[in-house]
């Protein structure tokens, strides 16, 4: 049983506020992912939980006990670092049993656990090697094993996969998921990669500028972003976001911009007109062949196999993207008509806050 509670947690570096009065409760066995762009305070938060940074104010509680003044080693935590931080002068086996040795576990017990854990993360064949001889993926597995073997109640993972290539990252991501399912321990995982967050998390905590912007299950975050920032951050390819202005048009509201004019659904009729952003996810854009009015030319066709991405030039820096089924054939320069289903539209005001219907 282990529960991490952060209460008004704050960290300042000089004049910069890295973490701004954060409140967060992480339940036992939960896989929580702190995600956000670099400098959003996610790593600082994790390092405060670990005990490597002293909070400027606020409390960190583990199982209801305030641990602000406890040394990292007394907090019942395991941590996996971005750099793996294996000890280069010890072989893989010695790296893994390091934590057991520090806890004065007997030699036989050490060996038993060493073999159990290396089975678990599938590195039994590496035990006599030196870390320098192992690949990036192997190193990360070793780092995981070294943390797992001490059986902490909470695992802190600081961008553990960001130094790996895409294929390995996917593979180890699945591994993390499997380990979490097997161990039933609390995982706090920090990443700047929205895809990792989406695939791993029970609950995502989106952070920006030291504050929590939104919290929720991956699908909540994806389908119901509270702001421009969250909408922009999740999804690949990212949501199409078009700057423009909302005008009152008779009873209804119309959105106008250099590239698109869209009539906003009637449910938004009570909103205040003004500058804002219109958003639609690429997979929600309906593309139909057309030669009539309002048609636009496809700029670039990018077949990915199952799906095909269509790019359209706009006046903004980012092209407008639509995803169509891979079986449909389009070619660059072809005129098509784009329509947006009412229920998939996202509207944001000039502050970037979501406008609700």
């Amino acid at each position: 049983m282990s529960r991490i509670e952060l209460k008004d947690l704050r960290k300042e570096f000089g004049n910069t506020v890295a973490v701004n009065d954060l409140n967060l409760t992480i339940e036992d066995g939960e896989f929580i992912v702190l995600v956000g762009p670099s400098g959003c305070g996610k790593t600082t938060t994790l390092r405060m939980i670990a005990g490597f940074e002293d909070p400027t104010s606020g409390q960190i509680e583990l199982d209801g006990k305030i641990v602000n003044d406890l040394e990292p080693r007394d907090r019942d935590l395991g941590m996996v670092f971005q750099s793996h931080a294996l000890f280069p002068h010890k072989n893989v086996a010695d790296n893994i049993v390091f934590g057991l040795r520090m806890q004065n576990v007997g030699k036989e017990e050490q060996l038993k656990k060493l073999h159990e854990v290396s089975e678990l993360v599938r590195i039994s064949h590496l035990l006599t090697k030196m870390p320098g001889q192992c690949s990036g993926g192997e190193s990360q597995r070793i780092a995981l094993a070294r943390t797992l073997v001490t059986e902490p109640s909470n695992f802190l993972l600081d961008e553990p996969l960001s130094s790996l290539d895409a294929k390995l990252r996917r593979e180890l991501r699945a591994e993390c998921d499997r380990l979490h399912a097997e161990l039933q321990k609390t995982f706090v995982y920090v990443t700047h990669d929205q895809e990792e967050a989406m695939t791993l998390a029970d609950r995502i905590v989106v952070m920006d500028l030291g504050e929590i912007v939104q919290m929720g299950s991956p699908i909540d975050i994806y389908s119901d972003p509270v702001s421009y920032f969250v909408a922009d951050f999740f999804g690949n390819p990212a949501m199409n976001l078009i700057e423009g202005e909302f005008f009152k048009e008779g009873d209804g509201i119309e959105f106008r911009s250099d590239s698109f004019n869209v009539s906003v659904p009637a449910s938004y009729n009570n909103m205040t007109p003004g500058k804002g952003t219109f958003g639609i996810r690429p997979e929600n854009v309906n593309v139909s062949s057309s030669k009539g009015d309002g048609s636009r030319k496809i700029g670039l066709v990018e077949p990915l196999g199952k799906d095909t991405l269509l790019y359209f030039e706009t006046t903004a820096t980012r092209p407008f993207v639509a995803i169509v089924d891979g079986t449909e054939s389009y070619s660059a320069g072809e005129p098509v008509e784009l329509t947006f289903p009412d229920e998939n539209m996202f509207l944001f005001d000039s502050n970037g806050d979501r406008i609700r219907s």
């Binding site: 670990a50 670092f81 750099s83 780092a143 001490t150």
Partner: protein
Amino acid sequence: MAMTLSQKRQTFSVFRYAILTVWLCIVAFPMFWMVGTSFKPDREWFSWPPVYITENATLRNYAIVWANINEYTKADGAHIDPKTGELSQYTQSLQRPWTALRNSTIIAGLATTLAVIFGSVLAYGVSRHQILSESRMFQLLMLRMVPPIVLIAPISLWYRQIGLLDTITGLVILYFLTSLPYAVWMSKSFIDEVPREMEQAAEILGASRWRTIWEVVLPLVRSGLVATFLFILILTWSEYLLALLLSKAEVLTLPVELSKYQGSTEGRVYGRQAALSVGITIPLVFVGLIIRKHLARGFSFGMVRR
């Protein structure tokens, strides 16, 4: 004729080795001359054309310098004193090379060990906890840029007051303090190389601060500390000015001893000096040999990945 890439590489490599060989000869020549001279009889020290490798090799120089054997015949190539018409008899009885060797070993060894221990502890504090600001670190280095000659007058006066003049302790303290800046700067560069995350990983796995330093940091900086040790040892071992001026009669170190074979009334006795120099150099070479596997790694300042 156009060369293929591999031919070009080969040519370049030959060229590189040629230059390195020439450089090696230039660097090694003084050492060769020192060793060579130490085995030459007196008349060959200055002979022209120079004798590169003597055919009359003798251990006389070593015997006189290190064993104080002072039997001397014309056959050994001794000079005839033009005034008295007698063979020159050098007053070796005044020289005490073994005492000097003992003093140097104690002074340089102790001062260097202290400097490396204190220096690396200080460097750890600077590297990890910023106990000295950057400007303080530079001030520390500036300390080392003060010419020693400036220090001599105040220090000898002061040392006389507190009874440290002409004592081993006096020189140890001074050498320790003057080499501390080097020790701090050099060992800091090695400690900086050890990622903090590595220490934090050890800590969160349950290691105490000291255990972390002992098991993680120290093994990783050992080569660097060994290199630092040798660097400072060479400096303190061959320090002359402070030793000359702060020791009067009792505490003689090897470089000072060496100077006594020069400019004395008998003229310059290069063969003896060379024999003494060889003796001075051997301990350093010996230390270097013992720790050689650390040196390549240490002196590359971490440029070679561990």
